[in-house]
């Protein structure tokens, strides 16, 4: 298994915010295998943290274990997508089952759940899986672009033309997600694979960031502070808190320092030529 420690730089920051009593967000990153997972939990007392904690820990552990015997960059013959996509779907399904089971067997966890975004880098590609309103953005050539589409009532309304993107900022229906991990016996993650370029910066965030900070200010931050990734992560959290910090805020920044082809070596090329 190749390591991506040289190809990727990862920085993260999380904060309770200025209003909430505790932080229900969880982040796990594993630069060696090129994985970052961010979850925004919900549920009474500390159940939100439990749900997001189960999701991030289980997804990162199981992905790492599975990669020992999987080649994530090849096409999965069962469904025609990359093995990486199938892998993310499977580990997320397991996280869903685990949270759902805990929520339905332990009264103190009843009703807990979490939104989720997971980014997995391999073979010059990024596979993003998400459920709910945790987001992934790409910063490339000075432009910020959201590459996930929220599973939320508001996004559905925007898509069907009920409300404009601009008006949606003033909506009072911001807090309603249409999909979450751990709420139903089964959940489908939305998974897409994107080509990655050197110099790209990817941002994973909980809604505590994008509800408080305009996209153009996120863009400005990555533009001015992209050279210092930990500082940029802290700056984003600070901006959310300066704007009121009404929710927990978490960010993961992943910068692509150089390409990471799966079959870079002459041996691999030779072997593939033999096939």
């Amino acid at each position: 298994m190749m390591t991506l420690s040289d190809a990727l730089e990862i920085a993260k920051a999380t904060h309770t915010g200025m209003v909430r009593s505790h932080n229900e967000d969880s982040i796990v990153t594993d630069v060696e295998i090129g994985l970052a997972v961010l979850a925004d939990g919900m549920g009474g007392y500390n159940a939100g943290e439990v749900a997001s904690g189960i999701a991030t820990a289980l997804i990162s552990n199981e992905t790492r274990e599975a990669l020992v015997k999987l080649e994530p960059h090849v096409v999965d013959q069962r469904n025609g997508t990359l093995v990486a996509s199938s892998l993310l779907r499977e580990v997320i399904a397991r996280a869903n089952a685990s949270i759902y089971h805990s929520a339905n067997t332990q009264p103190q966890y009843a009703g807990m759940g979490t939104t989720l975004v997971a980014a997995f880098f391999c073979d010059n590609k990024l596979t993003v899986a998400h459920i709910g309103d945790s987001r992934c953005y790409r910063f490339r050539d000075g432009k910020l672009e959201q590459i996930t589409r929220d599973h939320s009532l508001l996004q559905e309304q925007i898509d069907s033309g009920v409300i404009t993107r601009e008006a949606a900022k003033r909506s009072q229906n911001k807090n309603l997600v249409t999909r979450a991990v751990g709420i139903e016996p089964e959940v489908e993650a939305e998974v897409h694979t994107h080509e990655v370029r050197e110099g790209d910066i990817y941002l994973l965030c909980s809604d505590g960031l994008n509800d408080m900070v305009e996209d153009e200010d996120i863009e400005l931050t990555l533009e001015t502070m992209g050279a210092n990734l930990p500082l940029a992560a802290e700056q984003l959290v600070e901006m959310a808190n300066d704007a009121g910090g009404r929710d927990n805020v978490s960010v993961v920044l992943i910068k692509v320092r150089k390409g990471f082809p799966a079959n870079g070596g002459w041996l691999a090329k030779f072997l593939s030529w033999l096939k």
């Binding site: 909430r20 033309g161 700056q235 300066d242």
Partner: protein, 263 residues
């Protein structure tokens, strides 16, 4: 619960709670809000409500509909908007939940739509045909109660809802005092750089770069990149951000500059 307060010449006529997804306003008796006045069309306007958001649409009325004095066709209603139909005024009141409830209210909730094909397998309590909320808090969040019927309607007939007209969100007033950097040395000496954006970069990329952040409590300088750190009044910065005071002297990448506040 949002409501309309109907008045005529400053006199209260009646209050209407918004308790359904589609409320009609007009002269004819079948309207939910009937206004018996010849300046009002038979079917004058319609209010579409989706959970906590309401949209006004003029239904091609003869004399039109005003919101806050402006004629509108479609409008995303905001708290305290005043709709004018003929001589009647309808004030839209959609107060934010009280401070105590606000936090509960804002917590993320899951809006579930049981898939049609999955309903057979579910327990009887789960087989309702409308989506329902899973309030993940122990306390029910106050205003979610009216949601199911409305949300179902959205899912079935999104095309029936009016498109909202875009309006710029109200920008909070900026503080009057604007921080500015004046270059004191080098080829650009004398030039001024207003710190209008939330973040302003100073220095030379690849050599030494600092960022000045505009925050509610003032301006803060932070080192971003470069082997050596900028100095403020002769003292080097550390990894922490440092708040700038009026007339602080910053030196970085061999250039001196002064921070000052223009009021």
């Amino acid at each position: 619960m949002a409501k309309f307060i109907v008045s005529l010449d400053g006199q209260l006529v009646k209050e209407y709670e918004i308790n359904k997804e589609r409320l009609t306003i007009g002269r004819k008796p079948h309207n939910d809000i009937q206004i018996d006045n010849l300046a009002v069309s038979g079917e004058h306007a319609m209010i579409m409500t989706i959970l906590n958001d309401s949209f006004l649409e003029d239904l091609g009325s003869t004399n039109g509909t005003l919101v806050n004095g402006q004629p509108v066709k479609k409008h995303f209603l905001q708290n305290n908007d005043v709709i004018e139909i003929g001589k009647y005024k309808l004030k839209y009141v959609n107060e934010q939940p009280s401070k105590m409830n606000q936090q509960e209210f804002e917590k993320t909730m899951v809006l579930r739509t049981p898939p049609a094909d999955a309903q057979k397998q579910k327990s009887p309590s789960d087989t309702q045909s409308t989506p329902h909320f899973v309030d993940t808090n122990v306390e029910p969040a106050g205003r979610a109660a009216t949601a199911p019927a409305v949300a179902a309607a959205v899912a079935q007939a999104p095309q029936a809802a009016p498109a909202a007209t875009a309006q710029p969100a109200g920008q909070p007033a900026q503080p009057a005092a604007v921080g500015t950097i004046q270059i004191l040395s080098g080829p650009n000496a004398g030039k001024e750089l207003p710190l209008a954006k939330p973040l302003t970069t100073v220095g030379k990329p690849g050599v030494q770069v600092a960022v000045i952040a505009k925050r509610p409590q003032g301006y803060f300088i932070t080192h971003v990149e470069g082997a050596s750190f900028p100095t403020v009044n002769g003292k080097p910065l550390d990894a922490q951000a440092r708040q700038l005071q009026d007339h602080d002297i910053i030196e970085l990448a061999g250039v001196k500059m002064e921070f000052f506040v223009k009021s």
